[in-house]
Amino acid sequence: MLKFLKRIYSSRDVILRLAFTDLKIKYVGSRLGILWSLLEPLLIIIVFSIIFPLVLKVNFLEWFLFFICGLIPYRFFKKSIMEMTTCLIDYSSILEKSRIHAENVVFAKAVSNSISFFIELFILFILVSFFVPLSLLIFLLPILFLINLLLNLGLGLYFSVLYPRMRDIGHILTVFFEVFMFLTPIIYRIEHIPSLYRGIYMLNPIARLIYTYQGIFLYSSPKFVEYLPVLRELLILFLFSLVIFIIGYKKFEKEKQISLELV
């Protein structure tokens, strides 16, 4: 494990370069550039923000802020994992003919997605700060991000070595993420779940993850006591992500050779 991390660190240059290239390829050549990455969530947000307040008869602004605080982290989670899953195939020409370690391209995808996420977070931050007084909790955001990244990497590593052998994983994941969105508190509040089932509901770590993001942005109370549940959530999420990462890493190390021969 330590060796693995060292190898990642020593090849940071190529990871960053690949991530940079990935971003540039995505947005270069189009006039709006990186704004395109924001356009898609923006459209979803607009559609949902118009329909939902109408149907549910909730306060538009409140709902809108709540919705984007959940949607943006969820999209980061989904896009990272989708891209990491297929990245061994996407980069097969490079992996086949150079000595780049396979994990580098997975990490490069993580980095490029993180950068897109930063931009989205920044906009989110500005938007939220207009309407809601931000608490000190916002300083926990980097930690939450790192935990989220760890979770993404764990799942990404796991699926990336599986994908060359089972190509339909891509389709399965797409459907899964669409369905899973409704199992996380993005379009409804966690309070909407009957308290009887809330315990079961909160077993879903992604729900916890999204919930924590929302908490960090929207907990307007400055009282110290309020920090505690967030810290607890962070700890739970961290432990969970760590386990996932280790499982993903083990799987990756075990199968990367076989998978690479298949790409």
Partner: protein, 465 residues
């Protein structure tokens, strides 16, 4: 310690169609017995490459060259065997790997450099040199999509060869690019070799292997079939290629004419002087007289044989044929078996020297019994000639009669035969003078025309004369 050591390397691949790539396929194939079909890409490969050596790899497509390079570079793990590498390794299996057309040339330099294992600082240091070498200073901020293929090659090549490493593994990248580019590549490889780098390179041109490599090997379906000194390996490889070409050609002729023509020697249809190889022709009706016409660039020969068998067998070690490529035609009882000739290549076996023989074409001529042999080993040739019952026809008839060819070349040793008996062994000029006294040029040509113009061979001959 050697730079690269490979011990008993085996590498297997699963066949593409046997792979189950989706869950659906797995589900459908559930319960079905799995067919295990494998391709053995490398079969028990042993190889030691010393430091500072330039080692060439030859082989057809699919013979396992790239797999071997990947194993050396550590990109593939062998199923069995040991790989030991001493020193930093740079594999260049394709040029311009990972190049992105949407990025500028400069960004691509950084991208490709980092893929090859350089960090940012190292690329910063080398950047100037790379740009200068590629001669693309003015366009480094232009997007790669506006580059011509040649410029992209130049750029990628100059990046690849500025990565410092002790061992460089190069796949057949020289197959692309124009002639000037190839020369530049090869020059740089030569320079790297002079710097004491170990180079493993796949090349398709044997002349390049001869020029740059110390040693080489030939791979065929995953096995090293020949390895050693570069020049010897190249010779062997050329013979393999020639043999395949002739095999193809003769295969077509065989299909079209329905005649079976086989050559039993190490490499089919590549005969060697002095070495035993057998030409066999299958026929339905055993004829009385068989003649075998060898028509080549330098000489033309006819061998005749009496036999009563449905196979015609010529043992070529008893046939004094010269190194050349020949069209072979078979004449049974004075009739050609087919209009289309077969082809064989005759090569010098090692150490033997080429003699030149001038002889008169047909037994119908009054002086058919005269034969001239030139060359250092004329006496040896004479001995061979005395043994065989052969009739010879030669292409350089006119030239021989004009004498100039022989005189200009200052042939030192020569023989003159009459009825398989040596008349004279002396220096070329004297023998030639003696020969001239006995031959009337005009008569010879006339007879030659009359007798041979009737045949295809004769027409060909006259065309050249």
């Amino acid at each position: 310690m050697a730079a690269i050591e490979l011990e008993n390397i085996w590498k297997e691949f699963m066949l593409e169609r046997e792979k189950e790539l989706t869950l659906k396929e797995r589900f459908v194939n559930l319960g079905r017995k799995k067919k295990e079909e494998k391709i053995i890409a490398l079969r028990d490969v042993n190889l030691i490459i010393e430091k500072g050596e330039c080692f060439g790899i030859l082989g057809k497509n699919g013979s396992g060259k790239t797999t071997l390079l990947k194993i050396i570079a550590g990109m593939l793990k062998p199923n069995r065997g040991l790989v030991k590498v001493d020193g930093k390794m740079l594999p260049i299996l394709t040029l311009g790997l990972g190049f992105q057309k949407e990025l500028t040339a400069k960004e691509n330099v950084y991208l490709y450099g980092s893929i090859l294992g350089l960090n940012k600082k190292e690329i910063d240091e080398k950047y100037e040199r790379i740009v200068k070498f590629s001669e693309l200073e003015k366009v480094m901020d232009v997007k790669l999509k506006d580059f011509s293929d040649g410029m992209i090659m130049r750029l990628s090549f100059s990046i690849a060869f500025h990565v410092e490493s002790e061992i460089i593994v190069i796949d057949e990248i020289l197959a692309v690019g124009d002639a000037a580019f190839q020369i530049k590549c090869l020059e740089r490889i030569k320079q790297l070799k002079e710097e004491g780098k170990t180079i493993v390179i796949v090349l398709h041109s044997t002349s390049d292997i001869r020029r740059f490599c110390d040693r080489a090997l030939i791979l065929e379906s995953g096995e090293i079939i020949f390895s050693g000194e570069a020049s010897k390996v190249c010779e062997e490889y050329e013979e393999i290629i020639e043999s395949e070409r002739l095999n193809r050609f003769n295969g077509i002729v065989m299909r079209e004419t329905g005649i079976e023509f086989k050559a039993f020697c190490e490499k089919a249809f590549v005969l060697k002087t002095g070495e035993k190889s057998v030409l066999e022709v299958k026929i339905d009706q055993p004829p009385k007289l068989v003649e075998l016409f060898f028509q080549g660039e330098k000489s033309v020969r006819v061998f005749s044989k009496n036999l009563d068998n449905d196979k015609i067998i010529f043992q070529t070690n008893s046939l004094p044929v010269h190194p050349d490529e020949y069209e072979v035609q078979i004449k049974l009882d004075g009739k050609f078996l087919s209009e289309r000739p077969f082809k064989v290549l005759v090569k010098n076996s090692k150490g033997s020297q080429e003699n030149r023989i001038y002889m008169l074409p047909s037994s119908n001529l009054p002086f058919h019994d005269l034969t001239l042999v030139f060359g250092e080993k004329a006496e040896l040739e004479a001995e061979l000639f005395e043994k065989g019952k052969t009739i010879f026809v030669f292409k350089n008839l006119g030239a021989a009669f004009k004498n100039s060819d022989v005189r200009d070349k200052g042939e030192k040793n020569a023989c003159l035969f009459k009825k398989n008996k040596i008349l004279l062994i002396d220096n070329g000029e004297k023998v030639l003078d003696e020969f001239n006294k006995r031959v009337w040029y005009d008569l010879a040509i006339k007879h030659f025309n009359d007798t041979l113009m009737a045949t295809r061979l004769g027409k060909n001959l006259m065309g050249i004369l």
